[in-house]
Amino acid sequence: MKKSRNLRPLTIGLLGVSAFALAACKEEATEVSVWRADQSCEAAAGATGAECQKLIADAEAQHQESAPRYDALAVCEEQHGAGNCEAQAAPGGGGGSIFMPILMGYMMGKFLGGAGAGAAAAAGKPLYPTAGGQMSTADGGAKFNAGQSRASVPTKAFQPSPSTVGKPPMSAAQVRSSGGFGERAAPAASNSGRSTSGG
């Protein structure tokens, strides 16, 4: 016999009865304001002068602690664009220099559950130029196009970046294989490891 047995009706392309597993829960995201260092924090973040002072001081401290650091200007500029890097004296003196990208802008997010119940706690992050003319967080986990002032980013983009002060500068080879600043990543809020799309 050729007959199919126990065949239940097959459906295709119907919402609600798909063969495919449901998409995973979306990663927790938060809305952020983004602005360049030469723009007004008060206007961009909708914050008071005092709040802005604290945000910027936080970001400056993080910049000193965890900005990407390189052992050669060329490597730094390859990642962050020509003219976007500056030298910093190597710790402990000596002739060598360490290069780091300029602090180009800020990102601010609001989180519920800060000091008081239901209050919003603001947190700031430094942003760095990319070779492609975007701004990104130190680890490249969130990227923003020029002129972008609002975005949704994974909440984990606010986790502290690993300290780079006093560590051996990254060699060119390590940078090339890191991929975090890759120009092939999708703009804005690209999360985790994806960097290119197939065709």
């Binding site: 016999m1 050729k2 007959k3 199919s4 047995r5 126990n6 065949l7 009706p9 097959l10 459906t11 295709i12 392309g13 119907l14 009865v17 798909s18 063969a19 495919f20 597993a21 998409a23 995973a24 890191s178 991929g179 975090g180 999360n191 985790s192 490891g193 994806r194 960097s195 290119t196 799309s197 197939g198 065709g199």
Partner: protein
């Protein structure tokens, strides 16, 4: 084999929509056409289609053994040099095949002739496996077909069995097709239903959204690593896109395996004819170009010149870029952008004519056996993307 007028179901449109079969009409014309159906005897199905198709699949496997051992042959078949290892390794390591569809010229008498083998990305799976079966049940229930009428169609059950053999239950498996293409999605989801019934957890991701992780693995549109991937996208294209360079190191298991690139390739037709010259289900075929001195060619030459021949690019889909040479005249199908590829020539085998229509039998291979058929017919001699899908049934024995 007969073409029999049948009563279309009055609620066909509702049934198609309720099933999600949104492409039952395409370009404003019916694609699923049940105003008539093809009727077969059990002997025709078993002796002329089922057994020969399984044998043809086995012959193709023997041809792959020969092709993957020869870089010269792989080059002729358009396998880029950088992918020859991948193709040969997938064969050597016995990566299992899932499915394919032979296109056969068959008129109810005499041996079916293999026109080609869509062994990599065959579509029309939902129509053949699902909607066609629903039609038979409805026709019997309405009294339009006798109680004992049957259909050669255990495609869905066979897919479940095959998945259970080749993918461990509990596997998180990805399925991909070109985003926004409803017809391709239909084929992919039909496949996913079978996978699910085999205990696999299927996930869909559009082809364009596949990414690469820092470790060089592929990831889906939610950045989850892809371990096993069913791709409704031809190997010859995967190999020619810049993203293809990531395949070898990705550690991703592809279904169909890479060796299907030399099966779903018209270049296998001359290889088969040289290995199995005179086989009743094969048509003489040759690579275009210099053939003088090839004794196999010399034995077929006169027949091709008398009966005509068909020129086919080694890669082409939906009957595109095909030329029929017959009695000094040339008939060309629509251009499909495949002209830059190498070509083969095959003896012209006219399709049978039923009420002015030219049917092609699609014989579905699941694993290594033939488990069902679906027919498409076209008013033109070349079956193209506007052809209609026709249901079939098997007469009850003794009628």
């Amino acid at each position: 084999m007969k073409r029999i007028p049948t009563q279309p179901r009055p609620d066909l449109k509702e049934k198609a929509e309720a099933a999600g079969f949104s492409f039952h009409e395409m370009h404003g014309l019916p694609y699923w056409d049940e105003t008539s159906a093809y009727a077969f005897t059990l002997e025709q199905i078993e002796n002329d289609l089922e057994d020969p198709s399984a044998e043809l699949h086995d012959m193709c496997r023997q041809a792959v053994e020969q092709i993957t051992a020869s870089e010269e042959l792989m080059a002729r078949m358009g396998i880029p040099e950088g992918f020859m290892d991948l193709v040969a390794r997938s064969w050597r390591e016995d990566e299992p095949e899932l499915y394919g569809r032979f296109d056969l010229a068959y008129d109810g008498a005499g041996p079916a002739k293999m026109l080609e083998y869509n062994a990599d990305t065959p579509t029309s799976l939902y129509e053949a496996a699902g909607f066609q079966w629903g039609w038979l049940e409805d026709m019997i229930a309405a009294g339009h077909l006798p109680e004992g009428a049957d259909q050669f169609n255990s495609i869905h059950e066979a897919l479940i069995e095959r998945f259970a053999e080749i993918v461990p239950a509990g596997t998180q498996m990805h399925f991909t097709s070109v985003g926004g293409n409803e017809e391709d999605y239909g084929t992919v989801e039909t496949m996913a239903w079978a996978a699910k019934d085999a205990g696999i957890t299927p996930h869909y991701t559009p082809l364009e959204k596949i990414g690469l992780t820092e470790e060089g693995q592929f990831a889906d549109d939610e950045s989850r690593v892809i371990g096993t991937l069913f791709k409704l996208y031809p190997w010859e294209d995967l190999m020619r896109e810049s993203f293809g360079a990531n395949i070898a190191a990705s550690g991703c298991r592809f279904i169909e395996p890479a060796w299907k690139a030399v099966v779903s390739n018209k270049g296998i037709l001359p290889v088969l004819w040289h290995m199995f010259e005179g086989h009743p289900n094969l048509l003489p075929a040759f690579f275009e170009g210099k053939k003088d001195g090839d004794p196999v060619w010399e034995r077929s030459r006169e027949l091709l010149e008398r009966q005509g021949w068909v020129e086919k690019p080694i890669f082409s889909r939906e009957g595109a870029s095909i030329r029929i040479h017959e009695g000094g005249r040339v008939e060309t199908s629509t251009h499909g952008g495949y002209d830059e590829h190498a070509k083969i020539v095959q003896l012209y085998q006219p399709l049978p004519v039923f009420d002015g229509n030219h049917p092609v039998v699609g014989a579905w291979i699941i694993g290594r056996t033939c488990r069902g058929i679906g027919l498409r017919e076209d008013a033109s001699r070349i079956t193209q993307d506007l052809s209609r899908f026709k249901p079939h049934f098997i007469w009850p024995e003794g009628q």
